[in-house]
């Protein structure tokens, strides 16, 4: 029975959504759906829902859970696995799975992509499967060490004709570069899309095509465009396919335009600078924002000493033409693999009495770049500061790098120092090793003796990026504090060791074609303990109106051999937060396989629940039949822990 009080609550809730929408224009999430990877095209990761509050979140319970069956820990294929081509011959082991898919809730359905490249359509209140679609993709680690998927994308016609199929569509990519389009209501392929519902993105992989362009991140959908970036095989070669983004017609799959990150001269001697993460769209300004990754080879730039201006940048394109409107390079001459790795969050900032159309670009290097999204100019000053020179023959590190004093970086300029406990239990291994390494703080170049790199390619901040409450300008981001060692190995020595068979393990990567291979390791003692002081992962909040940090607390728990380490140590984190209008943060991301709700005002954990594996994707928040749900894909990632799963789990308040 709907009481007067309930009606009043509904009315107030509806009014608040309307008010927020009026305040924030097109940037604001328009409904209680979660229709894109980041919740909305502005990548705010914000839900206007208020049913679950800091006061009642402790009552959250499992509403439903479903297992897709699409999971591998690296062993033989599961018995009765659905039909698909064998991986490198009969009965070959499957690669492990990494599942970073944000579920979508749209069209009254929860949609998921899986690391076996299947689409699932689920009932939003029960998790029952409405339909599933199998791409029959080859399950081989063609470019990545694991089978990966970050979800699916949704498109619908402006005025859907219900008498025709494929007026609403779901898209999923595969590691072998196929983009599939299916009807969102039935799961049947859309025959008018490419050939029989499939576009082979690899048809445009025409330069240095050493591997297929893996479509692991779902396309970004706006108007009738699909914006498609891709992932590749890093660290293997000096020269790789040059970075591109393709704009396709959402109905036919026809190519509308192509963005090239490298000019032809650079493309001949380098590669990548691709866009493997999600993108953002400013509807009002018709701009598409790309997080552009670093060029190859990733740890030596002697063969690409000319400035590659779009490498490791955030770049704005005109939606309709793909022309560059502006670009800001975040790392000059990147030799640390500091890919720009998440969609920038678009937010209008009230500052000094003016409204600034801004974006916040998070980064592996731990800086939050707050830029005017019309021009790319900094909202808070960015300084060019000098950093150490390279000592490697043939290399020339950039003499200066962009440095962001405000907002305060999530990680410091110096690594945290040797962790006494890790040093004692390893009989001084950590301090002895640190003394042999080159360490001159942030942006210490890779070296022949080995360099302490902090933050390294793990980050800092990973692909989850940050979330913002548009009504207050509070920005929240989780991050890791990880120290890595980059050691370049002269080609002759590397090849000799490779021939002798000593480089299969230990973090060796050839960078074939460069004068050096690389050994990249995380700075651990022989027992596997981090050699640097905790916390290893935290979550922080900022006031974007002032740039000031509001709070910064350790987040998650390390779990090793089943033992949980102290909460003050935090956990390396992968995956990002979402914010709700009621003042809550929902996030998985930690290696202890917990999902949590935090108080937006303080960062205090208000609720947590164990799931089957670390939830390394963004959760989705939606409302269906008057009930608010928070859904996590608990898939795991081998960077955190070997634990993987195929669990999709929804939480809601009890009736």
């Amino acid at each position: 029975m709907v009481t007067d009080v309930m009606w009043t609550k509904y009315l107030l809730s509806a009014l608040s959504v309307v008010a927020l929408t009026a305040t924030c224009g097109e940037l604001q999430a328009q409904s209680v759906e979660w229709s894109t990877y980041n919740g909305d095209l502005a990548a705010q990761k914000f839900s206007p829902l208020k049913q679950i509050t800091p006061q009642n979140v402790g009552n959250l319970a499992v509403a439903w859970r479903t297992h897709t069956g699409d999971v591998s820990s690296g062993g033989p294929p599961p018995a009765g696995m659905h039909n698909r081509p064998p991986a490198s011959g009969p009965q070959a082991d499957l690669p492990p799975t990494v599942w970073s898919a944000t579920p979508l809730f749209v069209n009254d359905t929860v949609y998921l992509g899986t690391p076996f490249y299947r689409i699932f359509a689920l009932e939003p209140d029960t998790g029952k499967v409405k339909w599933s679609y199998d791409t029959n993709a080859v399950l081989e680690a063609l470019t990545q060490p694991d089978l990966k998927n970050r979800g699916v994308a949704y498109w619908q016609a402006d005025a859907p004709d219900t008498s025709q199929a494929c007026q609403k569509r779901i898209y999923i990519g595969t590691m072998d570069a196929k983009l599939h389009s299916v009807d969102a209501d039935t799961g049947k392929p859309c025959a008018d899309f490419g050939k029989g519902g499939v576009v082979d993105i690899n048809q445009w992989n025409v330069e240095n095509a050493k591997w297929p362009l893996s479509i692991l991140q779902p396309p970004t959908v706006y108007k009738d465009f699909l914006f498609v970036g891709w992932a590749g095989k890093d660290w293997a070669d000096a020269v790789d396919p040059p970075g591109t983004v393709f704009a396709l017609d959402a109905r036919t799959g026809a190519l509308r335009w192509t963005f090239h990150a490298l000019n032809p001269a650079d493309a001949a001697k380098s590669g990548t600078a691709n866009v493997w993460a999600s993108m953002a769209v400013d509807r009002d300004r018709n701009l598409l924002f790309l997080p552009v990754s670093s060029p190859s080879p990733n740890f030596f730039g002697g063969n690409r000493l000319d400035a590659i201006s779009l490498g490791t940048s955030v770049t704005a394109l005109d939606v309709d033409t793909g022309k560059v409107v502006w670009s800001r390079q975040l790392v000059h001459h990147d030799i640390w693999d500091l890919d720009t790795n998440s969609a920038p969050t678009l937010i209008d900032i009230q500052k000094d009495g003016a409204t600034i159309p801004a974006l916040v670009q998070t980064s592996k290097q731990g800086f939050l770049y707050v830029l005017n999204r019309e021009t790319g100019e900094p909202v808070y000053p960015i300084e060019e500061r000098p950093f150490p020179a390279s000592t490697v023959p043939g290399e020339k590190a950039a003499p200066t790098q962009p440095y962001v004093p405000l907002p305060k970086a999530v990680v410091g300029d110096k690594w945290p120092g040797v962790f006494g406990l890790a040093d004692i239990v390893s009989f001084g291994y950590c301090s002895r090793t640190a003394a042999t390494l080159r360490d001159e703080g942030r942006f210490t170049p890779p070296s022949l003796e080995g360099s302490l790199v902090y933050p390294g390619t793990i980050g800092g901040i990973e692909w989850g990026g940050g979330a913002v409450d548009p009504s207050t300008g509070t920005f929240v981001v989780n991050y890791s504090s990880a120290v890595q060692i980059y050691k370049l190995i002269p080609r002759a020595d590397y090849d000799k060791a490779a021939t002798a068979g000593g480089l299969e393990t230990g973090g060796f990567f050839p960078m074939t074609g460069a004068p050096y291979g690389v050994q990249l390791t995380t700075f651990l003692n022989p027992l596997g303990m981090p050699c640097w002081k905790p916390p290893y992962g935290s979550i922080a909040a900022y006031d974007l109106k002032t740039g000031k940090q509001l709070w910064d607390v350790p987040f998650g728990q390390v779990q090793q051999y089943g033992f949980y380490m102290p909460e003050s140590w935090g956990s390396i984190t992968l995956g990002g937060p979402v914010i709700t209008a009621s003042g809550l943060i929902f996030i998985g991301a930690s290696m202890d396989s917990m999902v949590r709700a935090l108080d937006l005002a303080t960062g205090k954990v208000l609720w947590k629940s164990l799931v089957a594996a670390p939830a390394v994707a963004l959760p989705a928040v939606y409302e269906y039949k008057g009930k608010q749900y928070v859904v996590f894909a608990a898939g795991g990632n081998s960077i955190l822990t070997p634990k993987v799963s195929d669990e999709i789990i929804a939480f809601a308040l009890p009736n």
Binding site: Q559, Y561, G562, F563, Y564, D592, A612
Partner: protein, 104 residues
């Protein structure tokens, strides 16, 4: 002490095979399975041994086992195991001091 350690064993075996325990299949869970088995054996041996070196050895081993298993249970977030180890400690105290009074 024997009953509490057997209870700890059951709880730990359950945790090892229960995917919702958070410590299923983990080496740390195997460790407490082994330590609770040992503690049960120590407890049974203590009931039969007369004063002497061997009994003293088992008394010291038992208390170290209880302390270690309790700490492991704490780190594994297995509150039930920690409580059972406290019960086990109570049994150990009763056994040691009752025997002392009996032999005084």
């Amino acid at each position: 002490m024997v009953l509490a350690s057997l209870g700890g064993l059951v709880v730990s075996i359950f945790n090892y095979f229960n995917p919702d325990s958070g410590i299923a299949g983990e080496p740390g869970t195997l460790l407490v399975i082994a330590s609770t088995i040992l503690l049960a054996l120590f407890g049974m041996a203590l009931g039969k041994l007369k004063p002497g070196f061997l009994r003293s050895f088992f008394i010291v081993s038992s208390i170290l086992n209880i302390a270690g298993t309790s700490f492991a249970g704490y780190l594994l977030h297995s509150q039930t195991l920690v409580i059972l180890m406290l019960v086990s400690l109570l049994g150990w105290i009763l056994h040691v001091f009752r025997r002392r009074r009996a032999f005084a």
